[in-house]
């Protein structure tokens, strides 16, 4: 885990397991599935441009990240220029333009957690997974982000994995928690 390289925010997605020929066919299938998802979400929000953020959030909650193709489709159907969408998906930190790992690790670095040693937890987790915040390991197992307050301040320092909050963390406990995940 500690020697793998990482996907950063600007790298194009990598899928080494699909070979070229099969890949093109599968890509088209993935493309169609994605487009169906996007259309479904847009229809749910009645195609309103003001619902842009909610549309993107819904697409991402099902697809785990926002491929460029999805953004193009949203731009087309909501009649919103791509540069505005580009600004929005980079302005708001909830969005990811690269594939995410199976497990999303969020370390809270809010004030209460910071004062109780969140930096050490972050250092430990970075060391254990081998990536920095904003990155995903190459096996697509873990994605790491820092978060500015999960609202569990009384339990600081706090680490969240796949939406499950682990409070009163220490460097040792944080390593233990990560080991549970496949």
């Amino acid at each position: 885990m500690d020697t793998c390289t990482k996907l950063s925010k600007t790298d194009p997605p990598v899928d080494p397991q699909i070979n070229q020929q099969v890949g093109q066919q599968s890509d088209r299938k993935i493309d169609q599935q994605l487009e169906k998802l996007v259309d479904r979400v847009i229809d749910k929000h009645k195609g309103e441009a003001s619902a842009l953020l909610q549309v993107l959030l819904d697409i991402q909650s099902e697809n785990s990240w926002l491929p460029k193709q999805a953004l193009g489709r949203v731009s087309e159907r909501l009649e919103v220029p791509l540069n505005r969408i580009q600004h929005i998906v980079t302005f708001y930190k909830a969005f990811s333009l690269v594939p995410k790992g199976r497990h999303k690790v969020h370390i809270c670095v809010g004030t209460a957690c910071h004062v109780r040693g969140a930096t050490r937890i972050l250092d430990t987790v970075e060391e254990a997974i081998g990536i920095k915040p904003g990155e995903t390991d190459l096996e697509l197992k873990f994605s790491l982000e820092t978060v500015n307050c999960l609202g569990c301040c009384a339990l600081g320092p706090v680490m969240e994995v796949d939406g499950k909050v682990h409070g009163k963390m220490s460097p040792v406990k944080a390593s233990e928690v990560l080991k549970i995940y496949e």
């Binding site: 708001y92 930190k93 209460a112 050490r120 307050c149 569990c152 301040c153 339990l155 499950k164």
Partner: protein
């Protein structure tokens, strides 16, 4: 689900609910807020349900997951009604004992009680707990009593009485006047008089108006709104509908940060329930008033807590604030009159309508009325949500309610108001909590974050932390904020890493003035506050960092060295084993030494050295003493002074 078409039907339904509930029937309430869930409350709730079922008590005992009462550090929190016996830190393993002892035998399980950190006395009932005693939980009190996913619980406790009263007995103008008379000030940060904001919108010449709940609680360290949103969503919804009625708006929005998924879920559920009961939608309770509510999620941007940025975000754009030359209650969302208020502000409205503005004015100071919920966190013994009347002193909050500083450490400062606020030192602890009082002291009320700092906290690092936080959260549009913060972050980081120079403080002050005067929005204008307040009260720390390369709190990693005091080291070897850098040299009976070249300043040795020895020390600003010569490192059993005849030779085998 019955549709309630008139206030009478609502009242009738409520009476029916109440009559079906036996106040003496035991009820096990387990907090199901995010904090307790993180500590295992879901398993505890399941365990109780299973145990009650298996003991054949399901008909006689209620079990429910409830809203958050705010005592998260001691969770999972369980309160057993009607006695209000309170157990803390309950695990699934404790459940059979609680059921057999307390539920069946009316006996107490003492080890699960709250133990007062000062007196050591155990508190049996919730109301005995020192954390709660001095609080006045007007807004928060119902959280532990209701299942937050049940509208019936809210109704049984008197919910929606205010709405019924307003729609049937008061005109919309009367509702507005009542809120004005109450002197309710916004609980989100600025403390603007809510009634005046509402009036501006009401009088604006535009038929379509909006009311908005700012549930984008972004201040790190603050979680008051989370407890209300998750725990008692109907209380906020009722306030919002009342607000809509008062200003003649028919459309309301909740803007909830997506980092609070449970809150999003519970608010959406509450809205559906209210709609099905006819408390939301068309012709509410037969009054002719229509009102609908939409929920929007945030997407991870602190700046969207600023009201104009929030509205821009609601319009589907990047959350860039707008200049407030035309106030947003006149031209806000879609350029229409919009009343935006914080969650806690809205939650106070039903109380004001039910009990009256005069009642509201009996609590608080001259300029700050009512109660305020604070999140008391950091270096404090009793951590959690605290609701107190405005005017209580900081000293009472921190010591009477908070139980003081743990581990025998000394209080240093309390940080209020989040990244827009400042630090208040010890000599100001008798300050009464209120909007203007806190502002005059160089801080601000903010949304209610109250972070306690002790002697081990470096105040320069506190300023650096907040400025750094804002470099990433600023929208980046205007120069004073974007570039000002960039440079302030750089300079403060340099100072904490020993690269501070004479003139840095003046540079920081210049940048502060520009940001305060010329920034586009409140984020930029208030960004220098943490720096300015720590400079005001802790200037000597800045000067020590810059001139002596010394961190008085012994916290800044780059400015401290770890040193093993040879007079105290007894070569137990723990530090050497735990050191991740292999930087400690020593052996049995050989005084241990840290190799400063290899040391990474992780602090592990400091933490693991047994308290009875306390041999590992932190040094800052002075060179580390030269290591002891090899021959002096052997630990010799000290001979008693009265017998000079004893051989004081080589290291013995005893000890």
């Amino acid at each position: 689900m019955p549709r309630l078409n008139t206030p009478e039907e609502l009242e009738g339904f409520r009476q029916e609910l109440v009559s079906k509930r036996d106040p003496n029937k035991p009820c096990i309430s387990i907090c199901a807020g995010a904090g307790c869930i993180a500590s295992g409350a879901a398993e505890v709730i399941e365990a109780f349900k299973a145990e009650i079922e298996s003991q054949g008590l399901a008909a006689k005992v209620d079990t429910k997951g409830t809203g958050c009462p705010g005592f998260c550090e001691q969770g999972p929190v369980v309160v057993i009604y009607p006695e209000e016996i309170c157990y803390l830190g309950v695990t699934a393993k404790d459940v059979p004992e609680i059921v057999s002892e307390t539920i069946k035998e009316n006996k107490i399980v003492e080890r699960l009680f709250f133990k007062d950190p000062v007196t050591g006395v155990r508190a049996v009932h919730e109301y005995d707990i020192s954390f709660y005693k001095a609080q006045e939980r007007t807004v928060l009190c119902n959280n532990i009593k209701i299942d937050s996913k049940s509208i019936d619980d809210y109704l049984a406790l008197g919910g929606y009485t205010a709405l019924a009263k307003a729609l049937s007995q008061m005109t919309d103008v009367e509702v507005l006047e009542e809120v004005k008379r109450s002197n309710l000030r916004g609980r989100g940060g600025a403390g603007f008089p809510a009634g005046r904001k509402w009036e501006g919108s009401r009088n604006a010449d535009e038929p379509i108006k909006y009311v908005i709940v700012n549930a984008d609680e972004g201040d790190p360290g603050a979680f008051m709104d989370r407890a209300l949103l998750e725990g008692n969503p109907h209380s906020i919804l009722e306030g919002l509908i009342l607000g809509g009625y008062a200003i003649a708006s028919h459309e309301g929005y909740f803007y909830v940060r997506q980092e609070y998924p449970l809150a999003v879920e519970n608010i959406n559920l509450a809205i559906k329930q209210a709609e099905s009961y006819g408390l939301l939608g068309e012709n509410i309770l037969g009054s002719g008033f229509d009102f609908k509510v939409m929920v929007h999620q945030g997407a991870g941007a602190f700046v969207c807590g600023e009201s104009t940025a929030l509205m821009t975000s609601l319009e589907g754009r990047a959350g860039e604030p707008r200049p407030k030359y035309t106030r947003s209650n006149i031209k806000g969302l879609w350029n229409r009159p919009s009343v935006l208020n914080n969650v806690e502000t809205w939650a106070n409205v039903p109380h004001i309508i039910n009990r009256g503005a005069d009642w509201f004015n009996t609590v608080g100071t001259d300029s700050s009325k009512g109660t305020k919920i604070f999140s008391l966190v950091g270096k404090i013994t009793n951590t959690g949500l605290v609701e107190v009347p405005m005017g209580m002193t900081l000293r009472d909050i921190i010591y009477k309610i908070g139980g003081g500083i743990p581990d025998g450490k000394k209080f240093k400062a309390v940080q209020t108001g989040g990244p827009s606020g400042g630090c208040i030192p010890e000599d100001q602890l008798d300050l009464q909590v209120g909007f203007d009082e806190l502002t005059q002291a160089g801080s601000m009320m903010g949304s209610g974050g109250m972070i306690v700092l002790d002697e081990d906290t470096c105040m320069v690092d506190v300023a650096r932390y907040f400025i750094h936080f804002l470099t990433d959260e600023s929208c980046g549009k205007c120069v004073p904020c974007r570039e000002g913060l960039r440079q302030m972050d750089r300079i403060l980081t340099n100072i904490t890493q020993g690269r501070g120079k004479e003139g840095d403080i003046e540079l920081l002050e210049e940048l502060s003035e520009t940001a305060v005067e010329a920034s586009l929005c409140a984020l930029g204008k208030s960004a220098p506050n943490p720096f300015l307040s720590t400079l005001r009260y802790f200037r000597e720390e800045y000067e020590a960092h810059i001139r002596e390369k010394r961190c008085p709190a012994l916290a800044c990693k780059a400015l401290i060295s770890f040193y093993i005091d040879p007079d105290k080291c007894l070569a137990c070897g723990i530090c050497r084993k735990k050191c991740p850098a292999g930087a400690i040299d020593g052996d049995k009976k050989i005084i241990h030494i840290i190799d400063q070249e290899l040391c990474t300043n992780c602090g592990t040795c400091f933490e693991v050295c047994p308290a009875k020895f306390g041999a590992v020390t932190k040094i800052s600003g002075v060179p580390v003493p030269a290591p002891l010569a090899q021959e002096k490192r052997m630990i010799i059993k000290k001979a008693p002074k009265e017998s000079p005849k004893k051989n004081q030779g080589k290291a013995g085998k005893n000890e």
